[in-house]
């Protein structure tokens, strides 16, 4: 058993009343990460029942998840039950469940709390899901920096295995299941599901061409389901309370609950479990409003790759469809709040530096285009912008958009287009005056890479 405490204090005590604690219900309890504590709150009863064949059958599990309308929480929002249904029926190869715990999207920090504070509920979610899709091996892929979370997950899996909840012939049911934790090396692109699969196979993390999708050809060429940590954790309450009851927890037409993260210029950054479909305004209120009484400037609603949400759009419900209508994306539902002191040119230049650094280098538009944008935007921020750059930003971003193998290219282009469109005057001012009104910054040294 690991005795270290989580690096970040549990947010639970500070939560106002309106939250619904479903997947976060054990957070904040003493030793919430241990098996006894999880068992105390009724944990693993569902798994014991299911694996012994006294609960839902695999197809019923899939149907329940489908009926609940659970959608992927990793960023793309693909309906989970539908994805499970894509597994080929007549393929004799083994099937795998792969959990995406890479959590690399800037501003996103929800999965780590699940693993730190309630790893067993997550494991039970993996168990039920593996049972549903008839997988006997489940890989949990965690990002390289998640050293603490890796240890915690491994300890929890060991506990579950020792309690006979994992392994061969679980509780005499004849069902085998084992869960392995695989640690990545800290590359954002290994969060993209096929990049993750390559990395899991021991190769360089570079996304694969699709089709075929992982459900047909995944890890080791076998049918594979890739799901986010949070997605699979939601499976536990869904099966527990039934699709209808779970769905009713949501708001504004969205089903169930959601872990929302919020960071940036707010008073109480953290993760809040709210009814799915709560508005941006509500989330901002939970986070105690904008820091230091400053005025809100813009919000990135769901991880750095999403286009901006402006202060006049605060009443947008944070669910996949409503937020799309507002011209942006839910992404990982972890918002970054920026107040009036933020230089948008500097913000996007910094962001592009990230994407340029993380581009896997496979396809031309992303490999070259992200660096071009990063260099150009940095130059503008440092007062060396040219009149032509103002048309170039859009054109370069649009030449990346939609032309790449994976969505990282889009993830870099979308915010660029959005920041430029919504704050064009700031870019123009930088070019015209050669200055940044938000203050001078150190000029980054020129990077040169030579050597294999």
């Amino acid at each position: 058993m690991v005795t270290e405490t989580a690096t970040v204090p549990a947010p639970a005590p500070a939560l106002p009343v309106k939250t619904v604690r479903v997947v976060s219900r054990n957070w904040g309890k003493p030793n919430s990460h241990t098996l006894p504590s999880y068992r105390d709150s009724g944990g693993y009863k569902l798994w014991e029942k299911t694996v012994k064949g006294q609960g839902l059958k695999p197809q019923e599990l899939i149907d329940t998840v489908k009926a609940a309308g659970l959608r992927g929480m990793g960023g793309a929002g693909f309906p989970t039950g539908v994805k499970w249904g894509f597994l080929p029926k007549d393929n004799p190869k083994p099937r795998y469940l792969v959990v995406n715990g890479d959590e690399g999207e800037p501003g996103t920090f929800k999965d780590r709390y699940i693993m730190e504070l309630d790893p067993h509920m997550f494991i039970e979610g993996c168990m039920l899901s593996s049972y549903a899709i008839n997988a006997h091996v489940c890989y949990i892929y965690l990002r390289g920096e998640f050293l603490f979370q890796v240890k915690r997950m491994e300890a929890a899996i060991d506990e579950a295995r020792a309690a006979g909840l994992l392994g061969k012939n679980i509780l005499g049911s004849g069902f085998d299941l084992d869960i392995h934790v695989h640690r990545g090396a800290g590359a954002y692109i290994c969060g993209e599901e096929t990049g993750l699969i390559e990395s899991l196979e021991g190769k360089k993390g570079q996304p694969r061409l699709k089709p075929p999708f992982p459900a047909v050809v995944g890890v080791f060429g076998c049918p594979t389901i890739v799901n986010n940590v949070e997605t699979l954790t939601h499976v536990v309450p869904i099966v527990e309370m039934g699709a209808e009851k779970w769905k009713a927890l949501g708001k504004n037409g969205a089903p169930g609950t959601k872990l929302y993260g919020i960071s940036g210029h707010v008073n109480k950054p953290g993760v809040y479990e709210l009814p799915f479909g709560s508005t941006m305004r509500e989330l901002l209120e939970f986070a105690g409003g904008v820091r230091d009484g400053k005025k809100l400037k813009a919000i990135v609603p769901g991880g750095a790759s999403c286009p901006l949400l402006l202060p006049d759009q605060l009443d947008t419900p944070l669910d996949f469809d409503s937020i799309k209508k507002a011209g942006t994306m839910l992404g990982t539902a972890c918002a970054i709040v920026m107040d009036e002191s933020t230089c948008m040119v500097r913000a996007i230049a910094r962001l592009l530096k990230f994407y340029a650094h993380e581009s896997c280098g496979q396809c031309t538009p992303c490999r070259e285009g992200t660096h071009w944008l990063a260099k150009m935007l940095t130059r503008i921020e440092h007062g060396e912008g040219r009149e032509q750059d103002l048309t170039l930003i859009d054109e370069v971003a649009n030449n990346i958009m939609g032309n790449t193998i994976c969505a990282l290219g889009d993830a870099a282009a979308m915010p660029t287009i959005s920041y430029f469109k919504k704050f064009r005057h700031e870019f123009e001012e930088h070019v015209k005056t050669g200055k940044c009104r938000f203050g001078e910054h150190e000029v980054a040294p020129r990077q040169v890479t030579i050597g294999p």
Binding site: Y96, R367, H371, N399, G451, P452
Partner: protein, 550 residues
């Protein structure tokens, strides 16, 4: 079979065809870099992006033509402004970090990047930042230089090593615009087929040291021919410089029945033997000294030496399986009518270790042709090169006529000892090799880059060798030299020119029945049922100890 429209042209092609190939059927050209018909699809360069529609609904974005397969009711546009705009964007991206050092790049003139840029963009760059600096002139292997700045990261080279050579010597390392191709630490790109990566490289990022800085591509003329390196007879293009009649390079030529688009590295270096160390003048030995003489004088001297032994047990005649079938046919006819030597042999290089890809163990390109001719003309008891050397060493043979000097042993001392037992050694040689140096009379003949004729590969395929440069110095095709020798021995050879020889060969030797040079053509004609197609992508094996986790 799916029917689709490409720029309005309706075509029907087999299912599974990708759009790049389908466009060719419609007479359209979609620009590519990473796509290669003999490698797996990587779709990473994005050069082939095209817009289109399915069932009348436009695709939401441009799709890579190399990865997209044909379907019914598909419409593709390969040249609308929308598609062209995507292409311009991709080319601009590829070039932002490119060093633009075409003036000193050997690929210049045959570079896909130059071609695609001038055809599809030709727009000045709008890039105003500093360029990324990467590995330049990096010694990646014994034969190859790598230039990371020119590399467009198409991974053709990596895929060739993984999928065809089945030896993962290369990988793309680093990320983003720092990406380069490299070998594992302490390893080199030294596979015996590594030079294929140089052919595959669409730009000047991988260059063969052999050709580097030798000749600008636009001075080269290309001749379709066959590699003399082994009995597979890989189809090749021989590149020679027009003005100076010199060969500079051999590259593989795609022939699905023989070598696919590949060849081994050893085959590529064979042109050196035709360029260097050449015998360009006839020599006769006088008082232990080699004296350069006119070919006629040498032929007369040869006739004098041989005449004493005609039809006697002391005469041996040996032909090389590097000669054309026409040469071999004339030699065999003369053996019957003129030499009547008691020892007749087919020599040739000693075998090497073949491999499981292209190389076959016999290093001689026309042994099958020689055997077919000797069978048809009823020559019996034809010895091989080793038996010939043993016969010479035994002292039984007193006069030896070597037509072509490829011998199973290149050991100078052994040959010297053997040939010292002879009274007369007459050789027709293209190289100043041991035999030519030890000969009493040496007559220069054409090398494989200088001869026209037919070879038969190990699988019974008749293929055409072509002259791409004229014979060097006083050299002439072997059959002409033989005819000259016959005349000196008072026998008039009936065939007035090469064409007559081909006609007779085709008439009298069943393997060549009804064949002409034209009907053999650039790709050869299979005689017999043997096939020898090289392996394709996916035909390699997984490591045997691989079991799936279950």
């Amino acid at each position: 079979m799916p029917t689709l429209k490409i720029d309005g042209v309706e075509i029907t092609v087999p299912p599974g065809t990708n759009l790049v190939e389908a466009a060719k059927v419609a007479g359209k050209d979609i620009p590519i870099f990473c796509y290669h018909s003999h490698l797996s699809i990587a779709a990473n360069c994005r050069m082939c992006l095209v817009h289109g529609s399915q069932n009348g609904r436009p695709w939401p974005k441009a799709m890579p033509a190399c990865q997209t397969l044909v379907a019914d009711n598909m419409e593709i546009d390969t040249c609308s402004e929308k598609t062209q705009a995507v292409r311009k964007g991709v080319l601009e991206f590829i070039l932002i970090n490119h060093p633009l050092d075409c003036p000193v790049c050997d690929k210049s003139g045959e570079c896909m990047l130059q071609d695609n840029f001038f055809e599809h963009s030709n727009r000045p760059s709008r890039f105003h930042e500093y360029k990324e600096q990467k590995l330049k002139t990096y010694d990646i292997g014994p034969q190859i230089i790598y230039d990371g700045e020119r590399c467009i990261n198409c991974t053709r080279c990596v895929r060739f090593m993984d999928e065809i050579a089945l030896d993962n010597q290369l990988a793309q390392i680093n990320r983003g615009d720092r990406s380069v191709i490299a070998c594992a630490e302490g390893k080199q790109l030294d596979h015996p087929y590594a030079m294929n990566t140089v052919d595959l490289c669409p730009v000047g990022a991988l260059l063969g040291k052999d050709f580097r800085f030798q000749k600008r591509a636009w001075f080269l003329q290309h001749t379709d021919s066959v590699c003399p390196g082994c009995a597979r007879g890989c189809n090749v293009v021989i590149d020679s410089a027009r003005l100076e009649n010199e060969v500079y390079r051999i590259k593989p030529r795609d022939n699905a029945a023989v070598n696919g688009p590949w060849m081994c590295d050893d085959g590529r270096w064979t042109y050196h033997q035709a360029r260097e160390r050449r015998l360009t003048q006839a020599t006769v030995r006088q008082d232990g000294e080699h004296k350069a003489v006119a070919v006629d004088v040498a032929l007369r001297q040869a006739a004098t030496l041989v005449r004493l032994h005609l039809g006697k047990p002391t005469l041996a005649v040996a032909v090389s399986p590097h000669l054309t079938s026409e040469d071999l046919y004339l030699a065999a006819s003369l053996q019957k009518q003129l030499f009547r030597a008691s020892t007749y042999a087919v020599t040739g290089h000693a075998p090497w270790k073949g491999d499981n890809f292209l190389k076959v163990s016999d290093r001689n390109p026309n042994r099958r042709g020689a055997a077919a001719i000797h069978d048809a003309l009823g020559l019996k008891d034809v010895l091989d090169g080793n038996a010939l050397l043993t016969a010479v060493e035994s002292g039984k043979v007193k006069a030896l006529v070597l037509i072509g000097t490829e011998l199973p042993s290149a050991d100078f001392d052994r040959l010297k000892a053997a040939f010292s037992k002879l009274d007369a050694l007459v050789v027709l040689a293209s190289e100043k090799d041991a035999a030519a140096q030890l000969a009493d009379v040496a007559i220069p003949v054409a090398a494989f880059t200088e001869m026209e004729g037919l070879w038969v590969n190990a699988f019974g395929r008749v293929q055409r060798v072509r002259a791409c440069v004229p014979p060097k110095g006083d050299a002439q095709p072997a059959w002409k030299a033989l005819r000259g020798l016959a005349r000196q021995l008072d026998v008039n050879v009936r065939q007035a020119d090469h064409r007559d020889l081909v006609v007779d060969l085709a008439r009298e030797v069943p393997l060549f029945n009804n064949l002409t040079h034209e009907s053999v053509g650039a790709f050869g004609v299979a005689r017999g049922a043997e096939t020898s197609a090289p392996r394709k992508v996916g035909e390699g094996k997984l490591p045997e100890d691989f079991t799936l986790p279950a």
